[in-house]
């Protein structure tokens, strides 16, 4: 073997050794923190029954899942606990941790210290750059208001929210509302337990495809990049295609990888919900082989989606100068996790809500994301609101006059009809608005 080749081999072996060691160390560092997505690691699997039978002390049993607080692992899987400790299934994990004193004394593992009432962990999707930015703004504003908060990077699908609640890992989340509202199963589980605090600005859903794909329906049965599993992109993409009655085959991978696969012809299209904040997408398509597909708003989308529009100014590589692409905006909301009415977590969320609402103006300054300026804290959503949030809004609003109440009643009536507001409702609603506006002039 020539000298240069032998040296190269030696360097490669050294590099491989370093890489292996670094990987091992990184895994060791990251393993205790866990992830909000359902874990499949060996640490989270129940221990074999035979092992337990041999080693379990009398009257004790193992925790069957790791327990996190403020994103830190405080009780690992396999820790012993008192088998005789009653477990109230109706209580939230935090309620159970803060149970009666005599029960805590008998537990093998002491309950964690009660956190400050104004401390929180906010769950946000790390692959959603816009949500991450909003989360950072939110935490900074809350800290300025005297609260103490951290961001937990994790999935925000219904399953991932369930994992976060199960592990007691987060108090709040920035979550896509479309999947929660549209999915009857998710809605049944979360409607009471995850009330929204504020509806956030929606983000246009972008579907990028090769120019020979002219219509969304051509994506049926073909592989489409949905973003990472449990991400906001994947959740909203699944909900949207389901609402439109189109069934592509989802490919779960990060946006950058999906765009590479699209360019290589391995994917038929890519869905992106955080395109506004994704530089990868801004640079994609310079060869003009791809374009944005239109998502036409139909009454089938009315319950959660609003129209949105993209122009060449948004995507110069994907939209022609004179072209306007109609799409829909995916709704997001700040929700309180595991905060059923009357629970201690709802009380904690109430304190956080007051801090957030009272300091909302801190988010309306130039160094914060401009999407905050589209947020009306009083905006309604097809989802229950945290009671404390509604009470704060009611107290902050001016007393509504009867004509405004009439306008709202007419709107509620039209929205409640089968199929939503119809063309014939438009003039009734308009007249009602004119009466209200006229009454104040």
């Amino acid at each position: 073997m020539p000298l240069t080749q032998r040296r190269r081999c030696a360097c490669l072996v050294a590099a491989a050794a370093i890489a292996t060691a670094a990987t091992t160390a990184a895994v060791a560092q990251t393993a205790p923190t866990g992830d909000a997505a359902p874990t499949t690691s060996a640490a989270a699997q129940p221990a074999p029954a035979s092992d337990d039978a041999q080693t379990t002390p009398p009257g004790m049993e193992r925790y069957d899942h790791p327990v996190y607080r403020d994103g830190r692992l405080i009780l690992w899987h396999g820790a012993w606990r008192d088998r005789v400790k009653p477990k109230d299934q109706g209580q939230s994990p935090k309620d159970q941790a803060q149970g009666p004193k005599d029960q805590r004394q008998t537990a093998a593992v002491p309950a964690p210290a009660k956190p400050s009432p104004n401390s929180f962990v906010l769950l946000a999707d790390p692959s959603d750059a816009c949500a991450t930015r909003l989360a950072a703004d939110f935490v900074a504003a809350m800290q300025a208001g005297g609260a103490s908060g951290k961001i937990l990077a994790g999935g925000v699908s219904a399953a991932a929210l369930g994992a976060a609640v199960e592990g007691d890992r987060a108090d709040l989340a920035i979550a896509p509302l479309d999947a929660l509202v549209a999915d009857p199963q998710a809605s049944a589980v979360w409607r009471e337990r995850a009330p929204f605090i504020a509806k956030l600005s929606g983000e246009p859903i972008e579907i990028i495809a090769a120019r020979d794909v002219a219509d969304l329906r051509q994506l049926a049965g073909r592989e489409v990049g949905f973003g990472p599993a449990d991400s906001a992109d994947a959740t909203s993409a699944a909900a949207l295609f389901n609402a439109l009655g189109v069934a592509p085959r989802p490919a779960y991978e990060p946006l950058a990888d999906a765009l590479n696969d699209l360019a290589a012809g391995r994917l038929a299209a890519v869905v992106a919900v955080d395109g506004r904040c994704a530089p990868t997408l801004a640079q994609f398509g310079a060869d003009r082989r791809f374009h944005e597909l239109a998502v036409r708003w139909t009454p089938a989308l009315r319950s959660v989606y609003a129209p949105a529009r993209l122009t060449a100014k948004d995507r110069p590589n994907l939209i022609d100068a004179a072209e306007r692409i109609d799409t829909v905006a995916a709704p997001r909301a700040l929700i309180a996790l595991d905060a059923a009415p009357g629970s201690s977590r709802a009380q904690a969320a109430a304190a956080l809500t007051k801090t957030f609402f009272a300091g909302f103006d801190r988010l309306l300054v130039p160094d914060k994301d401009g999407a905050w300026r589209d947020v009306n804290l009083a905006a309604e959503a097809p989802w229950p609101r945290l009671r404390a949030a509604q009470e704060w809004i009611d107290a902050a609003r001016p007393a509504s006059d009867p004509s405004l109440q009439t306008f709202r009643a007419v709107a509620h009536d039209a929205a409640s009809a089968d199929g939503g507001p119809a063309a014939q409702d438009s003039d009734r609603l308009y007249d009602s608005l004119m009466q209200w506006r006229g009454a104040g002039q």
């Binding site: 991450t132 929606g202 246009p204 904040c277 009454p299 129209p307």
Partner: protein, 187 residues
Amino acid sequence: MPFLLKSVTGLFTGVALGAVSLAYWPQVQPATVAARPVVEQPQPVARSAPDALEKSALDKLALALRDAQPNAAPAADGPTRGLALTATNVDFSAPSDDARRLRAQGLVALAGGDVAAARAFLERAADAGDARALLVLGDAYDPGTLTRLGAIGVKGDESRARDYYQRANDAGLAAARQRIAATEILQ
């Protein structure tokens, strides 16, 4: 043999360097991150401070141009993303059922306080030929209307509101004159 020796020496040097690096590797917890220092902050794409300044200058220019051309469309990059200009050469004489349905949806959203969604629906309705949607769009941007509606946080845009009222007036809606007069009184 010397070559092999050098290669082995290189291997051990590499491993040693790697071990030293790992010893001083910073302890990070990727799942629990502090707000700003740890979470990767993407480069601002829209509405950063310089953009805002530039936008302000553009808005002023657009306003000046609109004064010269009363029927011109409002500035494109407004406070609500995803909304483009409503078309200017639209036939408002006979709005379609689709246009009226979009107006109805926009009014429902406005009544519920979802101002961003209301603006989006009404833009579509106006584009589809619904003149009344232009007037309601003016209301959806009118700071006075938003205050009376009980909106908290979202701000109005008086110049946009006036522009939509003007376009509604140009489309033949007499009620728009009252709105224009009201905004002039407030100026």
